[in-house]
Amino acid sequence: MIEARHLSKRYGTTLAVDDLSFSVGAGQVTGFLGPNGAGKSTTMRMIVALDLPSSGAVTVGGRAYGSLRFPLHEVGALLDANAAHPGRRARNHLNWLADSNRIPRGRVDEVLGIVGLAEVAHRRAGELSLGMGQRLGIAAALLGDPAVLILDEPINGLDPEGILWVRHLLRSLADEGRTVLVSSHLMTEMALTADHLIVVGRGRLLSSGPMAEFIERSGGHHVKVVTPDAEALGTLLRDKGATVVADGPQDLSVQGLESRDVGILAAGAGLTLYELSTQRASLEDAFMELTHEHAEYRGTTEAAAPGTP
């Protein structure tokens, strides 16, 4: 359980995080979504007390991270996937972390097995591929068997197999009752992984709620129709109260009627359909819409505040 209250972080004249309040619940994967520079990483660093908030506070399990002793038992974080001394062997990288929190060395072997690095544990971190380095970072986060996991862009640098593996790992961690907060700028990935979504833009909270609700709220769905009789079908559907937009000579985009109704009406009028499908607004569309509005809003205020990048 992570709880942020009125969290702000100012760097000089830039407000990287702006009055951010949210809570991350246990037993689900919470996506932390926003374009690059939205303040996701800064927020995550504040959660684990690496950066100090300019104002506001954030707690993990009801306590400030900075007050925890041996915090790896409670919170595991992946903030910078390449954070390893290139000359140190992968196993030793986990060994010193384990020592710092009184985690038995046996657990190092366990997490190396979980992330699939047991065979290359003797290699120096600098000799690992990008994907292996990412797995080493995830191993470090899992080391203390924590109830809370905070992962900043965990799929960066992973191959498709690795991405699938992370997706399953996050799911199983959440199913075990853990709190999983995972950031990404890839909306499509979040749609596949997250149950709950926190969207930020320019340091501000734009949306927080269940994934499905987020998609539904941001435009719902429409029916796509491809037909050689676009004009006739368009007239017919408009008569039934639908909003019809012609996307091309044969393509129609219909709102206000379900695809079932469109099919029945077309059949009744003897019109040929090549294609009939319901188009749900993708997370990507919803996300773009949200951040676009926000960018415009910020654009006008920026003109009055020179010096803000």
Binding site: R45, V48, A49, L50, D51, L52, Y65, G66, S67, L68, R69, F70, P71, L72, H73, E74, A77, L79, D80, N82, A83, A84, H85, P86, G87, R88, R89, N92, N95, W96, L97, D99, S100, N101, R102, E110, G113, I114, A140, L142, D145, P146, A147, S172, L173, E176, G177, R178
Partner: protein, 276 residues
């Protein structure tokens, strides 16, 4: 395969007192220090510098003695040439001490370190403790070895001293303490500056450049200030004979310890308030 990701349980950490945190952090720092190659190389060079330069310069000096007057030799400090290598060794130790902090900032490891031990002052203390201990062991062994080898060379000219002679044991230990305190200062500079190049430049500036610049000042300022520079304060600890341009051994110890404590305090203040 058994289920390794067991359901989360309330954290059952054995000893969560701050002393327990410090011990765990110290153990962790020891693991860190011995699992990178740069440590081993820097320590090898340190040992070779102390022993190699000491033996070499002592042998050269002894070879020149037939041409010297008795007056020149009578003011001779039996450890002067033996401990010439400390001037080089302190640079190796300085770089290694700086790297103890700055390599973590350069590689991003500092975030893992502070994440694992949010008690940053304890962590800095653990780093300094482990590094000082390693330097103490390595430089004390080197100082003892170079002492006996060099005195054996000097004994051929009947100019050697025994470890039991007044002030000699103190000077041998003083050489090692000098190295330890330089190491502590270096870790502190690394923690404050955070960038390897900048921290090394500052440290070398203080150890190599400033003494030369101070000598350009008009007398008596040049000699008065030189007394209190880290180099001279350190050298005073390993001198057997009292030189007019050095503090007393105790004075040198206090001055250099003062610098080390000051750097540690500054580092422990800034390390807490800064973002990592």
């Amino acid at each position: 395969m058994t289920q390794v990701l067991v359901p989360p349980t309330p954290a059952a950490t054995p000893d969560t007192r701050l002393s327990g945190v410090f011990l765990a952090a110290s153990r962790s720092e020891w693991t860190k220090l011995r699992t990178v190659r740069s440590t081993m190389w820097a320590l090898v060079i340190t040992v070779l510098s102390i022993i190699g330069f000491g033996v070499l310069l002592t042998a050269i000096a002894v070879g020149q003695w037939d041409h010297r007057t008795l007056a020149e030799i009578s003011g001779f400090d039996p450890l002067l040439y033996s401990y010439a290598g400390l001037n080089v060794a302190q640079l190796c130790i300085g770089v290694l001490g700086v790297l103890v902090m700055t390599s973590e900032y350069a590689t991003g490891v500092i975030r893992l370190t502070f994440g694992a031990t949010p008690q940053r002052r304890l962590l800095l203390g653990a780093k300094v403790l482990i590094f000082s201990t390693v330097i103490a062991v390595v430089s004390l062994i080197s100082c003892v070895v170079v002492f006996f080898v060099c005195q054996a060379i000097l004994a051929g000219k009947h100019a050697g001293v025994s470890i039991g002679d007044p002030g000699v044991l103190r000077a041998v230990i003083g050489g090692a303490v000098h190295m330890v305190l330089i190491g502590v200062i270096a870790v502190g500079v690394g923690a404050v500056v955070r960038h390897t190049a900048g921290a090394v430049a500052i440290l070398f500036g203080v150890l190599l450049i400033i003494p030369g610049l101070v000598q350009l000042l008009p007398a008596p300022w040049n000699n008065d200030i030189t007394l209190y520079l880290p180099n001279s304060a350190g050298a005073a600890m390993s001198a057997v004979v009292r030189f007019p341009n050095l503090l007393s051994p105790l004075g040198g110890f206090l001055v250099l310890t003062g610098y080390a404590v000051m750097m540690f305090v500054v580092a422990s203040i800034v390390i807490v308030g800064r973002d990592a």
